[in-house]
Amino acid sequence: MPVENGIGAAVRRKEDQRFITGNGNYLDDMNKVGQAYGYFLRSPHAHAKINGINLDAAKAAPGVVDIFTGADMAADGIGGLICGWGITSKDGSPHNAPPHNSMAIDAVRHVGDQVAFVIADSLQQAKDAAELIDVDYAELPPVTDISRALSGGAPQIHEEAPGNVCYDWELGDKDAVDAAFASAAKVSKIDLVNNRLSPNPMEPRAALGEFDPGSEELTLYTTSQNPHVARLIMSAFLAIAPENKLRVVAPDVGGGFGSKIFVYAEETVTVWAARKINRPVKWTADRSEAFMTDAHGRDHVTHAELAMDDEGHILGFRVSTKANLGAYLSTFASAVPTYLYGTLLNGQYKIPSIYVEVLAGFTNTTPVDAYRGAGRPEATYVVERMMETAARDLNMDPTEFRMKNFIQPDAYPYETPVIMTYDSGDYPANMNAAKGLIDYAGFAARKAQSEANGKIRGIGCAAYIEACGIAPSAAVGSLGAGVGLWESAEVRFNPTGSVTVFTGSHSHGQGHETTFAQIIADKLGVPIESVEVVHGDTDKVPFGMGTYGSRSLAVGGSAIVKAVDKIVEKSKKIAAHLMEAAVEDIEHEHGVFSVAGTDKQMTMGEIAFAAYVPHNYPEDLEPGMAENAFYDPLNFTFPAGTHIAEVEIDPNTGVVDIVDWAASDDFGNIVNPMIVEGQVHGGVAQGIGQAMLEGVVYDDESGQLLTGSYMDYCMPRADDLPSFKIDTTGTVCPSNPLGVKGCGEAGAIAAPAALMNAITNALGKDIDMPATPEKVWRAANA
């Protein structure tokens, strides 16, 4: 019998009441007694040497508490920011990791680079004082375009990275691929640009540092997706404070999309400065700072080739990518264009051999790191634009071409040539479901109708795959990750039967307070109203690796299940004692413990009470009802599916109208279908944003950011989007106890390729993202 609000119920999100009534607790809502305000003086230049910084006039300005520079931090023994994933180049050398100071010491390398931190009694005073700082810059020529940065003669950005190269990485069997191409009957080729994106969470980043001189404890309140990882890095590498003296709290966080995974300069400076001035200090980014300094996403240039036999079976796949990492290596930047990208280039297909090489480099731009999908949207874009092109070259229906090459449902576990083992799936089922939803068969008639109206209609699909639930610690460790990627949970019953769940996952909009409560309700029969989910505080939660890569349910949820299993085990012993039965005879279902073959039973609440008031209690058992678990996944999970977009183009203006959208996603088991649907909507919206609207633009000559506000950076709005037709035909994930795969990024991964395939299908020629009206108009009228 299903439990009320249990697994599978479309429960309304518990947390939304607080959010939509303005009672969320976001960082900028917090204020501490005696708090000062911090403001960063930032570089107006993309590339310059700093000959000197004169702070005298600024320090004398009204209200100024103190002003710090990178030299002050270095003198205090504070280290630079780190990149936590080591990548090895083709020649066996480690990636080039130039210093990444929290504030510039002798040079600035992108517009917005931190130069000084001004602390004053008010923000206005801090800004006024910043204008009095005299920085002696010697401007250097900048480069923002990755191809130019990596070609000879470009300005050199770091001494430690000759030719601006970070690494030259490869994966796969080059010889096997060369042989496949040599024997191919047909070769298709494509050149692609994956545009640079600004993450744009609704809440800008912020940090509040506080020092307690009595306990010598430092507290950093910050907008983070993974506060424990932030603490670990700040302690171990920056020496801000020992881990036991540093508390990191990430309260309600208003969106992240990956951009709040990373440890940023502003956080480290703010918390360090709080101790220096012995006063709480708060910094909140304004939107202009967010555009300049939140780590960007994507920015790849790729050439890909596909070898096929004369019947259209794929023989081999060759991919060469240049990846722009920005001015400095952000926390996980190195992993995104390598192990989160190259390993997914197999897509949903039987591809005997794959070879990918990635040349990653530095430019005078904002650092680039994980952004919703992180590597997998880039991979899907290459694979699915390639499949579409191949089908067109073969004059074959693109869905038929895919069907012909799909890995079949009976082929799992399936090992790809790029080191992944897919665990379950039914790709033809998702393809067929999506085709049914959009009436694929009726497209020709609709196209004719559009043509009669002077419009051009197109249809395109993307059969994406991604790797979520990151990740088995041993596997990522062997590939260069500096951390393990398990998750922790504690399930704590209170004596009166309510439950507090402590999770190392971090919700910044995903709805964990509801989903995780549903798991407890389902497994232990506790009403979701009686379940409190606590996250985001290193003093409360045992440890946590945080939320990204659609890992919270598959990894964090599995840790909760593991803790629940321990609760059940202990409860059985208490129940056996109280009901005078053998432990083996105790049966458990949804929080009811019964003696097999009798009508004797006890509820979870009664047992929890007995555990805390152990007047009649098993001698050999500890009192209390709280269990901890750490869960390390066995494998990645592999959500997959097909999205199909249908568009109508006005050739007079180039305006693309997305007339229909169908998505069939295999997310494994689903805990809350309403939340899943919301995640798909949001993901697809972001993917459509990338394909048609968004794009960070730098002036390559001056290095200035041209898309520094919403006047110029185009975010998708509700009226840019169609109504989505969504289906979740799925296969159970065999590698975690919940059977779940993850859904947070799928939409952003599938949508760009699906939409660009539809647009290029209509146009009959390729264009790059974003497909702006002008680009489409030019292609339609060329």
Binding site: Q124, K127, D128, S288, N652, T653, G654, L693, V697, L706, T707, Y710, M711, D712, Y713, C714, M715, D720, T772, P773, E774, W777, R778
Partner: protein
């Protein structure tokens, strides 16, 4: 934002009298306040016009529609008088920015600002409107001088705009996908004095497309202008659109406006 003084007078003359060299009048604040917040501008004093009743309101006498400078976009969009006299003007106002902007932004502020991508300037020029100030009356074509530049003097305050009621009119806007200002907007008006076609967004300042006006005067149909192109050489080029694309949009939007006005 740098600090400033603030005044809220109740009469236009008081307002004008208190305007010093470094001071600015404040209408809906939709342009002025963001500029101040970003420290791109500084004002010694803000003279808030919102307390001046004579600057608000809409009236019509059948041949002329008059709109007070402090009338908000939402009030123009929703006004029964505007809808019956010049429906195209109400339609234009209803597509400015978003609801928040329309609830604060004013016609006087928009016209005084003369943003090259603003919507209203095209309506004023196409309809042959007159801008009335505390000092004089200025024809729309003389009023809009150049990029963000108008005929207004330092202490001059717009009091109202008067529009002769046309036979028919329509506005076609191609919004900039990011800002939703006009990438190109074309206002076409058929008036007793002839047809006027005014273009905003495309160039540094609103301008009349005289080739189209001539063609439409003899044949008011979109086919009459289908072959007329606009010289791209003086048009804006930026990351959103090239001059050539803008020139194309002038033709397309003009055709749509004529169809809507026919």
């Amino acid at each position: 934002m740098y600090s400033f003084d603030y005044e809220r007078p109740s009469g236009v003359n008081d307002a004008a009298a208190s305007l010093g060299e470094d001071d600015k009048v404040l209408a809906g604040g939709q342009t002025l306040l963001p500029t101040l917040k970003l420290r791109l501008a500084q004002a010694g004093k803000l003279v808030d016009l919102s307390g001046i009743d004579e600057l608000k309101g809409i009236s019509s006498n059948g041949s002329e529609l008059s709109i007070g400078a402090m009338t908000r976009h939402v009030d123009v969009a929703d006004s029964a008088e505007v809808r019956s006299a010049i429906p195209a003007l109400a339609d234009l106002a209803s597509h400015i920015g978003d609801a928040q902007v329309r609830n604060r932004g004013t016609i006087g502020g928009s016209v005084a600002n003369n943003d090259p991508a603003a919507d209203y300037p095209s309506a004023l020029v196409a309809l042959g409107a007159t801008v009335h100030t505390n000092k004089r009356s200025i024809s729309a074509e003389d009023f809009f001088v150049d990029l963000f530049e108008t005929a207004l003097e330092e202490d001059e305050i717009i009091t109202k705009i008067s529009f002769p009621v046309p036979e028919s009119a329509a506005y076609a806007k191609f919004p900039n996908p990011a800002s939703r200002y006009a990438l190109v907007g074309v206002f076409v008006a058929k008036t007793s004095g002839g047809v006027r076609v005014a273009v905003t967004g495309a160039g540094p300042c609103v301008f009349r497309q005289s080739d189209m006006e001539a063609a439409l005067s003899s044949d008011f149909s979109s086919s009459a202008i289908s072959g007329i192109s606009t010289d791209a050489s003086g048009l804006n080029s930026d990351i959103h659109a090239s001059a050539e694309y803008r020139a194309n949009l002038v033709s397309v939007m003009a055709g749509r406006a004529v169809d809507a006005a026919s």
